[in-house]
């Protein structure tokens, strides 16, 4: 309502005196890629509870701290004892902390996509310039980035600590680089799996439970089978079994190509040939997650 005309607004109605009426917008409209970037940054901030309620900041921040504290302790020990190497390899750190990482993806993947489904916000996105693929890309990239922040931060702590302890620079930098590549792949893989599962259900609780189940049950089953194979002396089967859980996939891949020592029983990582299968499996899973998400959102529409 514009400025009230004296005839139409009796003198009693003084509350709207500063109402200056509708102003149209002639400024720039930044289009699809800007909207996609906005969705990405909103989702990334949301993955750490920023811009959301205090309650939703607690878990992601807590998990972030839990990820970094052991690294800080290791660094402190290494500096104090003047050790000539860090107690844990860069590539090994994420494998040790995999429970925390699984918990994080289980809590944040549903937060990212199930909410939009549950409150039917998705049609509002698709009534705007962005396309289905833009939405999927923004959500996937945001969760993968959030996970990369979670997994790379302790590596940075380790690296900085190692430099402070005056450990061999070239050696440490190489290990740090390998670690970053490894956690980048891990972030993409975990985020993809988490989002696919979460995008199926509008119920956040189900999403959380399902992601935890897939991550931990597959890991439990695979390591049990590997242990049995090891005990029965059929060590050659161990790498093949490792293909069936996300954690062991990353473990196998990095012990084949990124100079990691395998956490598999008997410490037998996959050979280079088997390693190629691991790489293909990881890349295939990432691509499949992306494809499944696209298919899923084609159907959601309005």
């Amino acid at each position: 309502m514009a400025v009230e005309h004296p005839v139409t607004a009796p003198s009693g109605d003084q509350t709207r005196i500063h109402n200056i009426g509708y102003r149209s917008y002639d400024g720039p409209r930044l289009g699809r890629s800007y909207a996609t970037r906005s969705l990405y940054s909103q989702s990334l901030r949301g993955a750490y509870g920023l811009g959301r309620s205090v309650k939703s900041k607690v878990l992601p921040m807590l998990l972030f701290v839990v990820m970094c504290v052991p690294a800080a302790i290791m660094v402190a020990v290494a500096v104090a004892t003047k050790a000539n190497d860090l107690p844990v390899d860069y590539t090994r750190y994420a494998i040790i902390m995999q429970a925390v990482i699984s918990l994080y993806v289980a809590s944040q993947a549903p937060q990212s996509v199930s909410r939009d489904l549950r409150f039917k916000t998705v049609p509002l996105y698709f009534s705007r310039p962005i396309e289905t693929a833009d939405y999927v890309r923004a959500k996937y990239a945001a969760l993968a980035s959030a996970m990369f922040i979670l997994t790379a931060a302790p590596l940075i702590v380790l690296y900085v600590g190692a430099l402070l302890a005056k450990l061999d620079f070239a050696d440490q930098t190489k290990g740090f680089g390998q670690g970053l590549v490894s956690v980048a792949l891990l972030s993409l893989l975990f985020a993809g799996i988490g989002l696919v599962i979460a995008s199926v259900t509008p119920r956040r609780g189900f999403g959380i439970a399902a992601v935890i189940a897939v991550m931990t049950i597959s890991y439990g089953a695979v390591s049990t089978l590997q242990a049995i194979a090891d005990a029965q002396g059929s060590g050659s089967a161990i790498p093949w079994i490792g293909l069936f859980s996300p954690v062991t996939l990353i473990d196998g891949l990095q012990s084949a190509f990124l100079g990691a020592s395998s956490a598999f029983p008997g410490a037998v990582g996959p050979s280079n040939g088997e390693g190629v299968v691991y790489v293909l499996a990881v890349l295939g899973l990432i691509a499949a997650s992306y494809g499944l998400l696209l298919r899923r959102y084609k159907k959601v529409g309005l």
Partner: protein, 370 residues
């Protein structure tokens, strides 16, 4: 609407200063703002469809629909499952048509979907608001999703929320809002990027009578004050009669009728007359009926079962002279004239006259959501 508006626009300088508005009569200012905006996309029809069809495996949602919708408030009326929502989806470029073509703001829906969605707002029928964020945060996010830079998004959000009537409560989480407030937030997110056209899908759903009137008033203002054309769907014809310039009725995916609301509710055809009884004429109504008949004025049988219907004469007015005839007849008989009023045709008559043949179609459409 557009033609008369254009004439006015030529005669007057349109003042851009907000204080100048207050010097002009309100009604005039409403018309000129509309025109000022309309001129930016000239004489173009806002929505045009040409034998548009949408077939699903088991149901035909739209059946060779051809439409031309100009600037203004247009109502899209139909029973549930008549194809209203399907139509909006096609017009937003989100669902390909099986046949035919459609243009929105002169852009082809099949190829220019993204460009259309940048200039168009959409308010869905269902709930679409996350409960744990405030209206401000939510609408700012949606403004950015429409391509507005961060600062502009904030400013436009504050403006738009104020225009739809949300004040202090906009900082509280949406979860605690009443249905009426939620509808306003939904409307705000559709308007925040200052579109040229908005699609409002059943905006009065779930509102009480007062909330309904508020919402309808707001919809009217979207065009008269904001200069944004509106396509609003509803299954309640009476609401749209008051709000829209133009009404399109579809049923079973077919066009039943498309015309301006003044055509729908022509004011000239029927007159209702009520008179008093006197000792001389114990049944005044009957006396008038006979006298009118003698003068050659056609009196309709009042078959409506309303209370007091027997005391009201309905007659067809041929022109100005009919009023005089009624006046003279009543005066000659010495009766008191209680009322003589124009009976407007109700839009629902469009449905009652076609109902029989459409039952079949409606059955076919059942099972397809909205």
């Amino acid at each position: 609407m557009w033609k008369t508006g254009a004439a006015l626009f030529d005669l007057r300088v349109t003042p851009r200063c907000p204080y100048a508005w207050s010097l002009m009569p309100r009604q005039l200012y409403g018309v000129t703002t509309g025109v000022a905006h309309v001129t930016t996309f000239d004489d173009v029809t806002v929505i045009a469809t040409e034998s548009l069809s949408k077939r699903f495996p088991r149901v035909t949602a739209l059946d060779r629909l051809s439409l031309d919708v100009g600037p203004g408030v247009t109502g899209l009326v139909g029973a549930n499952g008549a194809g209203k929502s399907t139509m909006i989806k096609i017009l937003l470029g989100l669902s390909p048509a099986s046949e035919g073509r459609a243009e929105v703001l002169g852009l082809d829906v099949a190829t220019k979907g993204a460009a259309i969605r940048e200039r168009v707002g959409y308010m869905p029928e269902h709930d679409c608001l996350p409960p744990d964020v405030s209206a401000t945060e939510f609408v700012v996010h949606m403004a950015r999703m429409s391509g507005l830079p961060p600062t502009a998004a904030r400013e436009r959000t504050a403006d738009t929320l104020r225009h739809v009537g949300l004040y202090e409560e906009r900082y509280r989480p949406i979860g605690g809002y009443s249905t009426g407030m939620k509808q306003r937030v939904k409307l705000a997110q559709a308007l925040v990027h200052d579109p040229q056209l908005v699609f409002l899908d059943e905006p009065t759903n779930g509102l009480d009578p007062v909330g309904r009137d508020d919402m309808l008033g707001l919809i009217r203002r979207i065009y008269t004050d904001f200069g944004i054309s509106v396509l609003v769907t509803s299954h309640l014809l009476g609401e749209l009669e008051r709000t829209c310039d133009h009404v399109v009725v579809i049923d079973g995916g077919k066009l039943l009728r498309s015309s301006s609301t003044t055509d729908f509710t022509q004011t000239t055809t029927t007159l209702a007359v009520e008179v008093t009884d006197t000792d001389e004429h114990p049944d005044g109504t009957r006396a008038v009926r006979e006298a009118l008949h003698a003068r050659g004025v056609e009196v309709l049988d009042s078959t409506s079962g309303l209370p007091g219907a027997g005391h009201i004469l309905l007659l067809t007015a041929q022109g100005e002279e009919t009023y005089d005839v009624v006046r003279d007849v009543v005066a000659d008989l010495g009766l008191g004239l209680v009322r003589m009023e124009q009976r407007r045709h109700h839009i629902s008559e469009v449905f009652t006259s076609e109902d029989a043949s459409d039952d079949q179609k409606r059955k076919e459409a059942v099972g397809h959501g909205g």
